[in-house]
Symmetry: C2
Subunit: 210 residues, 2 copies
């Protein structure tokens, strides 16, 4: 399932060995990005960590940016899959439970894909289009969920509400850094509470048309 760097410049792997190489390279890059940040991570270290020569790395990923794009593509795919499940489960969901699932989904995702956050926050160091489109699509997903859960919501308030929920999810991810674990847990509980309160208010704002 590892994405092939077909999209940008680099030659795509075709033999089996190539795919394994690409997977190892991607994993090594992910690790380096997490440990040192996108800018500080060096191509030579990434190659060494994957047990490959620097030339092999450049054969599949002609630039560091291409590496980031490939990683982002993989992560985005996994995220979209989770959001699809969330949308599917939304209809028969109490407000409290929806809030719990939202924060749990995002908090868990960060644990399993640590480099994703690193890359989307890499700001000025790589083309802003990448994070842009992902954030936009996430916002669309949240709009869907809100439309299902708060059907009486005025059309003009749907997107702003989705933006706020998106920021709350970002907060859930950020809280994942906190230590000790007990404090982190308590904070995430409070965040879930705040989200549930807000969702409830949205739902009850206009119960239903006549």
């Amino acid at each position: 399932m590892a994405s092939r760097p077909t999209s940008q410049g680099g030659r795509a792997p075709q033999r089996r060995r190539g795919h394994e190489r690409v997977a190892a390279l991607l994993a090594a890059a992910s690790g380096c990005f997490v440990e040192k940040g996108y800018d500080a991570a060096t191509m030579t270290e990434i190659a060494a960590r994957a047990g490959a020569a620097i030339g092999s790395l450049y054969q599949f990923f002609p630039t560091k940016e291409a590496l980031a794009e490939a990683l982002m593509a993989d992560h985005a795919e996994a995220l979209y899959a989770r959001m699809d499940r969330l949308v599917a489960q939304a209809p028969g969901c109490a407000t409290e439970e929806l809030a719990a699932r939202l924060v749990r989904t995002f908090a868990d995702y960060r644990r399993q894909h640590p480099s994703f956050v690193i890359l989307v926050e890499a700001g000025g160091s790589l083309p802003p289009m990448l994070g842009r489109t992902i954030r936009q699509r996430m916002r669309d997903y949240l709009c869907q969920i809100l439309a299902i859960h708060a059907p009486g919501l005025a059309a003009g308030e749907l997107r702003p509400a989705a933006m706020v929920v998106q920021q709350l999810m970002k907060a859930a991810v950020a809280l994942q850094n906190e230590r000790p674990a007990a404090l982190r847990q308590a904070a995430q509980d409070q965040l879930r509470r705040a989200l549930a309160l807000y969702l409830k208010e949205l739902t009850e704002s206009r119960p239903a048309p006549t």
Copy 2:
């Protein structure tokens, strides 16, 4: 009021011209950081932007990190001043008004000190102690405000609640990026609403002891 780089290595300005230079250098650095990011900003460009030679820059700030520290110190001072005012005004403040003041304070601060956010989010590229202590102190300020506004709150829930409010403030700052202006305004209104709801819940959770 511009901070002198006395704290770290660099020679401190003593004549009047020196202070003007340092101020210009700091302003130039702030601009470069905002436009290109901390890592991408170069010392040569910062010096050029301030109308100074590269040597003059290194006379006052022996390293790029020292520049960031000096900027952070200035910004932190200004932020703490605002927080002091906020704490002072907290006692006689309705919940709705407190929420409004909080988001307005942070949103305004970002407009006036754009480089602050850039630096605190520079993550792995500069010592983490800088952002750490500032975030910690901000959290303490929020604890004070919450203790005033929700005196019935259990001691164990005070810090987690402050952490959540802190994340909401971060969200208010992030929303400042959104365009067009109408959408941003609507989102910030919604965020204020969510914050007010949460604060109200905290306040009413345990009205008062017997």
